[in-house]
């Protein structure tokens, strides 16, 4: 009887990543007492929210055996659209982000499905397209202001004086999608697609439909993040923002394999936390930019290495 890593290995992975997370928190707070102050905790959350939302969305796409490279561009484009309508719609403008995000996500899916183009390439293209659209929209103004109090409050009013409201939205959505992934038919099917595409197809499931939905979710969540970003900053620009790689890293370092079929949004939560803590910790300690990038990369490698164990067990029959 083969003793498979299986569940025990998964638990070990979570523990080791958690350990890494706690280790970092301890290290940073020792290095700089300001890390765990109110300002520090707020800073972590502000970094966490966009990475988390994008990572959760990307996780669904990864689990469905696809790739969404356009989440960063959707994030920017939706924040631009949101800022555009903030003055007319007030707080309701916050819905512009998720709505347009979902549409862009569906469009990704359409290119993938009807163009029969591998998702990696399809979203590489849409990433550039969406970025281009964003730049066209802001032509002339370069920065769209959205300073209405009522609108901004949706993101930056505080709960318990330490938690910005945007964090609350992000956590609600994250918990919801974790539930969807683990407990619903939809989630189970998406896992199945990543685990074995052929088997899922032969079991009578319309695979395309679910992959489309995964792209829509990813776009939706990127849109939520974009809308919240516009509210938080009080405006939006079309400047390219390097959030794609941290989001994908967050989605994959804590146990969701690139090929899908395992892991899930709960892993993305852990991954996002790790990266947010890492980034903020490095900033608070005023680590030099280049060194920061280096350390970031090393931590990602370590975390992925801890994940790779599972793949190796999998190859040994």
């Amino acid at each position: 009887m083969l003793k498979l890593g299986g569940r025990r290995l998964q638990e070990r992975l979570i523990v080791s990543n958690l350990g890494l997370l706690i280790g970092m928190i301890v290290l940073f707070s020792v290095a700089s007492p300001g890390f765990l102050s109110v300002r520090g905790i707020i800073a972590i959350q502000l970094t966490l929210v966009p990475i988390l939302l994008l990572a959760v969305g990307e996780t669904f796409v990864l689990m469905a055996r696809s790739f969404d490279l356009s989440i960063g561009s959707i994030y920017i484009l939706t924040s631009v659209f949101t800022a555009l309508f903030a003055s007319q719609l007030g707080p309701v403008a916050i819905l512009v982000g998720p709505a347009t995000g979902a549409i862009f996500g569906l469009m990704n899916g359409m290119v993938f499905k009807f163009g029969r183009i591998p998702s990696f390439i399809a979203t590489l293209a849409t990433m550039i397209i969406y970025q281009g659209v964003a730049q066209i929209v802001v032509t002339g103004q370069y920065y769209l202001f959205a300073t209405e109090e009522s609108f901004r409050a949706i993101a930056i009013s505080f709960v318990a004086s330490v938690i910005p409201l945007m964090m609350v939205w992000a956590m609600i959505l994250t918990v919801f999608f974790i539930f969807v992934a683990l407990k619903t038919k939809f989630g189970r099917v998406v896992y199945s697609i990543g685990a074995n595409y052929e088997a899922t197809r032969f079991s009578g499931i319309n695979v395309m439909k679910y992959q489309l939905a995964a792209f829509a979710i990813s776009g939706f969540l990127a849109g939520v993040a974009g809308g919240l970003a516009a509210a938080q900053q009080g405006g939006a620009s079309a400047l390219p923002y390097p959030i794609l790689l941290p989001a994908v890293a967050a989605a994959t370092i804590a146990g969701t394999p690139i090929t899908g079929g395992a892991g899930g949004p709960h892993r993305a939560l852990l991954g996002a936390l790790m990266l947010a803590v890492l980034t903020t910790g490095l900033n608070v300690n005023a680590v030099e930019t280049n060194l920061k990038t280096l350390i970031f990369g090393i931590v990602v490698i370590i975390a992925i290495y801890l994940t790779t164990d599972r793949r190796v067990v999998h190859l040994i029959k």
């Binding site: 083969l2 498979l4 038919k185 189970r188 685990a195 074995n196 052929e198 088997a199 197809r201 029959k317």
Partner: protein, 510 residues
């Protein structure tokens, strides 16, 4: 060291004992292999034959017993060590790497380097030498993926014999153990592989493990039967011919049970198929309620394509495909919704192997495991558990643990999981494509019984198989296909009176 008949013994194992905790996998087992012979080893899954082989090649250490290789004590530390002494095993699943060239694959794991640079020319030449030596019809530069399955199999056997040519072995003789060498091969391919084995016999002694009793009888010099961790007998096929039925009895420990299949099917037509002049086949037939209709054909006969067309994974151009009078939808999802299922012996395309048994059974059976809450379809773990336990019991899956990961199950049990899923789904029509490939005789019997019971309760089946025994046991009607057409149809009355040999003759005559 010679045996009483004067044959030189290549390998002897005596009194091998192996325990896993309380479970005794090998109970004082002895085995011997003569030079230049083909020894067939048969036994149920879980009988201990795989464990025995692992002990022989050093992948497991026995708790007691000793092994002698050409008269000298042999206790390999690991498979690599065993290989350098001239004994190796070719595994069932091949682990072929499709994108490598033949010589790269053959040398995989023991590449020859000059310093740090791969000595490709040397490897290529040695591989060509090996291929020529063994008369394998391919070149060192061919890509594995471009080879036919039979040739691929031969290449993996060649990989195991590499030491023979390169002189890495400490000895010249060679023992190769083949684990299910013809699994997933068509019958023409199987005969190609076995012909090669007969050729190579002069220089290599073979131990072949297989569930295909008939073929093993044809190729083996002797056969050893392992049952419940014991060697229950070694038969010398040159002294006395052995029938599959006799072997069956030794393997199972009892007579084969008869399956009762209803031969006179009701006249209600469940499926009407008229697919004329398709690209790969041209057939027309119907299926009645409670009927099991069989299709026999070798590779190229279009029979497997027919199966794929029925489930919807192969596009058909025109033609009539009606279930209960209604035309079937185009996609697999639509067909499954309309009550058609598809089960193959190739579990890689049907099973989520890293998942538990429970989750594989519930895949497709959503209606049985969901509860709805505010428009969200949630999975009810209790219902899922119940479903899994019910059908695990029905199909007798061992070990009876719904959370067991499918990868750890034996081939036969993996098949049972897929069957359990489809039985739970209860499609009106189930298309079976070589469902018992690589499955041991005991499991096969259970399968047949389940199918017969299901048919008796009104479900219909289309059985596509290359196993004539299976077809004549189960089917009330058998269509023989060749070159895409049905060339002969045998109805139940005729089938009952014909034996396997007779059917074989008919097929030869086509």
């Amino acid at each position: 060291m010679a045996s009483s008949s004067g044959e030189v013994l290549e390998l002897t194992a005596e009194g091998i004992v192996k325990r896993f905790g309380d479970f005794v996998a090998l109970d004082n087992v002895s085995l011997d292999l003569r030079v230049g012979e083909v020894l067939g080893v048969v036994g149920q899954n879980g009988s201990g034959k795989s464990t025995l082989m692992k002990v022989l090649i050093g992948a497991q250490k026995p708790d007691a017993g000793r092994i002698q290789l050409r008269g000298r004590p042999f206790s390999p530390k690991n498979p690599h060590d065993a290989e350098s002494h001239g004994i190796s095993m070719v595994y069932q699943d091949g682990a072929l790497v499709p994108d490598l060239k033949v010589y790269q694959y053959v040398y995989l794991g023991r590449e020859v380097t000059r310093g740090t640079i791969l000595h490709s020319r040397g490897m290529r030449d040695k591989t060509s030498e090996l291929l020529e030596n063994l008369k394998i019809p391919c070149s060192s530069d061919d890509f594995i993926r471009d080879l036919s399955p039979a040739t691929q199999r031969m290449v993996s056997i060649a990989k195991a014999s590499l030491g023979m040519i390169t002189g890495e072995n400490k000895s010249d003789e060679r023992i190769i153990i083949l684990d299910e060498p013809t699994a997933q091969l068509s019958s023409t391919e199987r005969s190609i592989v076995f012909d090669k084995v007969r050729e190579w016999k002069k220089r290599v002694s073979f131990v072949i493990i297989s569930h295909l009793l008939q073929e093993l009888i044809e190729i083996s010099d002797r056969m050893t039967v392992i049952r419940d961790g014991k060697n229950v007998g070694t038969l010398d096929l040159h002294e006395k011919s052995v029938s599959a039925a006799e072997l069956h009895k030794l393997i199972m420990g009892r007579e084969r049970r008869d399956i009762v299949v209803r031969r006179n099917a009701s006249l209600t037509k469940v499926l009407e198929v008229e697919l004329a002049k398709q690209r790969v086949f041209d057939v027309s037939f119907s299926l009645g309620e409670g009927e099991i209709v069989g299709f026999y054909g070798t590779i190229g006969s279009g029979v497997r394509e027919l199966g794929m067309a029925l489930i919807g994974s192969l596009r058909i151009d025109r033609g009539v495909l009606k279930k209960g009078g209604k035309s079937l939808g185009g996609s697999i999802a639509a067909r499954v919704r309309m009550g058609i299922g598809y089960l193959t012996g190739d579990h890689a395309s049907q099973l989520n192997i890293e998942w538990s048994v429970q989750r594989n059974i519930s895949l497709s059976n959503w209606d049985k495991i969901l509860t709805r809450f505010l428009k969200l379809a949630m999975i009810d773990s209790r219902k899922e558990r119940q479903l899994a336990e019910e059908y695990m019991k029905l199909t007798n899956i061992a070990p009876p643990n719904p959370d067991a990961i499918c990868m750890s199950l034996s081939g036969g049990n993996k098949q049972k999981v897929i069957l359990a899923r489809w039985l739970a789904k209860e499609p009106d029509i189930l298309v079976l494509d070589n469902p018992t490939a690589g499955v041991d005789v005991g499991t096969r019997e259970e399968f047949y019984r389940l199918l017969a019971n299901s048919a008796a309760s009104g479900k219909s089946f289309i059985l596509i198989s290359e196993d004539l025994d299976e077809l004549s046991t189960l089917c009330s009607k058998l269509h023989l296909m060749k070159d895409g057409k049905i060339v002969r149809s045998l109805a139940s009355a005729a089938l009952e009176n014909l034996g396997d040999e007779d059917i074989r003759q008919i097929i030869k005559g086509l």
